[in-house]
Structures are given as structure tokens and as C-alpha cells.
């Protein structure tokens, strides 16, 4: 029995509906477990972090990309390659600081919230997709880039767009190159 040589041929498609339902069930359960929105958000972020630290190697192994040489390249990589690979969408990237270390990803379409219109009144500050922030943070950490990732705007909360902000903190590996 021979296996297909490229990873691309091994796409076992699972229904998107199942994925969305699973995510929704996760959030619903967390809402039952925790009263405060902040706790749910934190929990989602932590779970995402756990996913991110593992997902990064899958991303690197499958996409065989080269090392990014700037924060800007990294942000582009996340938006154009990673988001495309895992969620099938390509957010647009903006650099929002002169220092070049703050970026935002504007999500036009977000499969996770396709079937969610707005948050219930008692969950007004819930970041429904906070898992994504954790994933990005965990993945970046494994390639030695510390970052803070949060939702700056959220359509579910009534904002015009859904915007994820990535702020790169001090790079850890610069020390090596100082001679």
C-alpha cells in the first residue's frame, strides 16, 4: 500500500458545520461553568494557547515556509498563509504603530461565527473567538516571538468589523547577533 506523496492529498474533509457546532458547544459549556465573561475569555485564550503551541509545528511542516525576517512579514504570514490554511479566510493586515510592532488583522469573514448573530445581553463582554487569540499567541511563542493578541473590535459586540490586534513584544533572540 503506498501513501500519497504530498500532504495536500490527505485532506480528510470534515464538515464545517460540525466544527462550528463543536466550537459553539465549547463556548456554551464554558458559559455554564463560569459566571464572569472575563473568566470565559481567559479560559478560551488558554485553550487556544495550548492549541497554538502544537499547531505551529503542523503549520511549519506543511507549509515549509522560511523564517520571517520582520514583524511585518510575520503578520503577513499569519494572515495570508496560516488563516488561509486553517480557516479558509484571508484577513487583511494593517500596521498600526510607527514602531512597526503593532499590527491588526481585519476579518471579513469568520467561519466560527457564521451562525451567531449577536451576543446575549448578559454576555456582553464575551470574546466569542478568543480561542483564536490564544492560538496566535501560542504559535508565536514557539518561534520565539512574544506577543499580545486581543480582539480590538468585534462584530458580535456591534462594532463595524472584527479586528484582531497583535503587538509584538521585545524579541528574545536579538542577543545572539550582537557582536
Amino acid at each position: 500500500m503506498s501513501r500519497p506523496s504530498g500532504r495536500k492529498q490527505e485532506n480528510h474533509k470534515i464538515s464545517r458545520e460540525l466544527f462550528v457546532l463543536t466550537y459553539g458547544a465549547l463556548v456554551a459549556q464554558l458559559c455554564k461553568d463560569y459566571e464572569k465573561d472575563e473568566d470565559v475569555n481567559n479560559c478560551l485564550e488558554r485553550m487556544g494557547y495550548g492549541i497554538g503551541v502544537r499547531l505551529i509545528d503542523d503549520f511549519l511542516a506543511r507549509s515549509a515556509v522560511k523564517k520571517c525576517r520582520s514583524y511585518s512579514e510575520t503578520a503577513d504570514m499569519i494572515a495570508q498563509v496560516a488563516f488561509k490554511m486553517y480557516l479558509g479566510v484571508t484577513p487583511s493586515v494593517n500596521c498600526s504603530s510607527a514602531a512597526g510592532n503593532e499590527f491588526s488583522l481585519i476579518l471579513d469573514k469568520n467561519p466560527l461565527v457564521d451562525f451567531v448573530e449577536e451576543l446575549p445581553a448578559e454576555r456582553a463582554s464575551l470574546c466569542y473567538c478568543n480561542l483564536l487569540c490564544g492560538v496566535i499567541r501560542g504559535a508565536l511563542e514557539m518561534v520565539h516571538l512574544a506577543a499580545e493578541v486581543t480582539f480590538l473590535q468585534d462584530r458580535l459586540k456591534g462594532d463595524a468589523v472584527t479586528e484582531i490586534g497583535i503587538t509584538f513584544l521585545r524579541k528574545a533572540e536579538d542577543r545572539k547577533h550582537k557582536r
Partner: protein, 161 residues
Amino acid sequence: VGHAVLAINGTEVNGRFTADGKDVLEFLGNPANYPVSIRFGRHRLSSNEKLMLASMFHSLFAIGSQLSPEIGSSGIEMLETDTFKLHCFQTLTGIKFVVLADPRQAGIDSLLRKIYEIYSDFALKNPFYSLEMPIRCELFDQNLKLALEVAEKAGPFGPGS
């Protein structure tokens, strides 16, 4: 010279006794048992020894990339000796995959990348595997074995020859 008796007449030997409880020296001393076939070889490394050697290599790798006259050196990619070649692939996440092979074996680069894929699938996606611990995942071992077989069969000219 570091070699030990590994097997007698096909039965594996552990220390002084064979797998079926016979004393090796006694067995070899009895002419009635001749002719006898004895396999000598180096001991297989224990897990601890492997860990020790791996951490030694990890340090050498770090020193190597610092010593390199080229800025931003990637570290040791290959170590060549008369009897074997050591290939090392470091991922962007800092994981090193090390393969020891015959000097004439080709296709190790693609083998290393294949191993990266296998690791990211069967180790990382196993929720019961904790990062940085020894990998004791059945599926990982199976797929690794398959990949090694493919690479070995390919011989000195790489897969597809």
C-alpha cells in the same frame, strides 16, 4: 573494544544469560555445543544514554552556531565521519531532528522533513503527549518505521530512483 555478545545461535543474550536462561560462558565452554554462531556488536543505547548524548549534541550545536564566522549561522547540519553521517534538522520552533545514517545514504533531507510531519501529526496531535517528554506513541513509532523503510529502500540515490 566496546563490543559485547549480542546473540548466540540466534537467541538474544542479556549480560551473562541467554533469553532462555542458559549461562553463556558455560554454553561456550562445552565443545558439545559447537559449531556455534555468535553475534558481536555494540550495545544498544539505553534511553538515558540517548538523552545524554542528545543534550551533548544540543550544546555542540549551540556552540557551533556561535562559533561560525558567518552571521546567523543555522548550526550543525551534518557531521561526517568514516563510518556514518549525522544529519541534523532544526525547525523554526527549535526542535532538532537527528538522523544517523550510512555515509552513502541519500534522501536524508526529505526523510528529515517527513519525520517533522510525522512528529507534528502523531506526537503533537495526540492530546496525551506532553511537549518535551519522550514520545511513546504507537502511531508515531509505526509511521516513523514506515518512513525509514522507504528511505532505506531508496538506497544511495534517493527515493524514486
